[in-house]
Amino acid sequence: MTNERIIIKGKTVVPGHAQGKALVADATLSFWGEVDAVTGEILAVGHPLQGQSIKGRVLIIRSTKGSSGAPMMMNIASLSGAAPVAMINVEVDALAALGSIVNCIPMMTDLDENPFDCIKSGDHVVVDASNGIIYVSK
């Protein structure tokens, strides 16, 4: 890690604070059927994050998609300790919002910068969703 630190403003979806390593892909994801909710492993075939785990990560993707089982799987992941610690989505799918609310996962959208340009998987990200700010350390 270098000392480079970026501050990006955005819009609060679900308030709260969390930090962790970023897991980033300009892609969509269905929590039902494409993620193992108990281990956090992304199962989606051909997905840029296939084989990686969402567990404890700040998940930065375009949006969720797919099954309406998403909130229930986010609940099982959350109870199993395998959920992301925070979510940053470019577009907000109603199902991701619901799952984040029910499971108290801080969520943000509409960042001032394109997250796929300035945040890489592995960067340390502090998400202050209550104040709409994220801090990225490279």
Partner: protein, 418 residues
């Protein structure tokens, strides 16, 4: 969000802590999604499943905590005048191989089903409620789970529902309120992505290919299809399911055929974009081959009925199987709701499947949540093929209904002209 006195009182606990929690879920969700108020809902479709394989390896505490919401919900009764149907379960209703259908989970689901029924939920147990008695009319406000049914209700029927999950559908069913945002409002129902269809759509699987292509392009957009011919209920079912598999689509328009799209202008509320995507024969072929990852032709499983088969489809399956025998070592599953299966039994279709040596029905369940000991699966549903590839580790082949049935008879993928 503006709350009425009644809503505020429930939030503060006038009807108990669980309904206060439900009210809070709806309010928080509504505020996040831009709702200004809660409006009445008289039609819901709730997801109340035991987790089964979806939570394979989860601790007993996790499962108990997850189930707690469902148990608490069924201690109440559904809101007066609200037609609340229930989504497919994650087990099979009837006895099948215990290897595939965990008997303990099946027992838990049966118990949950009885509790839900006693709480006022209509036990339809299906991903296609519009086939078994929940057919909302144009403009009707709904709160539905099941991503494919949401697209169907909005697009084909002109009803209005956002994409609901377990908690929001339970809360809406018990309280009779839903936050007003997204496609519940007329101004949010205009198309946002234009797609010209030049490929021939000769059967329902072709419509699924169109949906699978368009969903990937659309993400959360509202696609508008122009240039198609008349579609059937089964075509619409495949289109809607695929749109909400590769994408997160809430609704679409098909110019000339769906109720809010008599013209291209109407579908876009007057703002027709000049740019468009084209779904041509090449794109159709590429879409099929994106879900054909087989390395050999031997087939050991054929799955029909995703989303849950209609009576017309079951009749089609029976006609194709009449007098034929399914190859040794091949299992053929037909997924449908018990309401449809009972009709099929009465008509005599089910006898045809027995005589052909089919494994039988997956009644009320979703096969994706059962253990599928399959090496190579042929199916006609793009949704099924997409998730089977991810969840079962089997190879998949997407194919027309005729091709699926013929593959079951011959025990090998017979190919087609797709």
């Amino acid at each position: 969000m503006q709350l009425t006195d009644d809503q505020q009182a429930i939030l503060e606990g006038s009807r108990g802590s669980f309904l206060a929690k439900c009210m809070k879920w709806l309010i928080d969700w509504g505020e996040v999604m831009g709702a200004m108020r809660l409006i009445k809902v008289h039609n819901t479709h709730a997801l109340l499943p035991v987790p089964n394989l979806m939570a394979k390896g989860a601790s007993k505490d996790v499962l108990r905590n997850y189930m707690q919401t469902l148990y608490e919900a069924t201690e109440y009764t559904t809101a007066p005048g609200c037609h609340c149907t229930v989504h497919a379960t994650f087990v099979n209703r009837d006895e099948i191989d215990a290897k595939e259908n965990d008997p303990e989970q099946a027992k838990l689901q049966k118990d949950m089903a009885n509790k839900a029924r006693d709480a006022g939920f209509i036990p339809t147990f299906t991903c296609a409620p519009y086939l078994v008695g929940n057919v909302p009319v144009m403009g009707e406000i709904c709160a539905w789970t099941e991503s494919s049914a949401v697209v169907y209700a909005n697009s084909i029927l002109g009803a209005r529902t956002t994409r609901h999950g377990t908690e929001s559908a339970i809360a809406s069913s018990l309280l009779g309120w839903v936050p007003e945002f997204g496609v519940l409002l007329s101004e949010n129902r205009q198309g946002t992505l234009r797609i010209k269809v030049t490929a021939e759509l000769s059967d329902s699987t072709d419509w699924g290919a169109l949906g699978y292509f368009a969903g990937k392009e659309a993400g959360l957009c509202i696609p508008v299809f122009e240039g198609t011919q008349q579609l059937s209920q089964e075509d619409a079912k495949q289109l809607c399911a695929a749109l909400a598999t590769s994408g997160g689509v809430t609704m679409c328009h098909i110019v000339g055929f769906t109720p809010e799209a008599p013209t291209l202008e109407a579908a876009f509320h007057g703002n027709v974009p000049e740019s468009f995507l084209v779904f041509d024969e090449k794109k159709k072929r590429e879409t099929y081959y994106s879900l054909r990852n087989h390395t050999a032709d031997e087939v050991d499983m054929v799955i029909l009925g995703c989303p849950h088969a209609s009576l017309r489809e079951i009749g089609q399956f029976a006609a194709l199987l009449k007098g034929k025998k399914i190859a040794k070592g091949v299992r053929l599953w037909i997924d449908t709701a018990h309401g449809t299966k009972e009709n099929a039994d009465y008509i005599g279709y089910s006898k045809v499947f027995d005589e052909a040596g089919a494994s039988g029905y997956i009644t009320d369940g979703c096969p994706m949540n059962l253990r599928m000991y399959a090496k190579r699966i042929v199916t006609h549903g793009f949704k099924q093929a997409h998730y089977a590839r991810t969840m079962s580790k089997a190879e998949v082949i997407i194919a027309s209904v005729e091709s699926c049935v013929q593959s079951a008879i011959e025990g090998r993928w017979i190919g087609d002209d797709k």
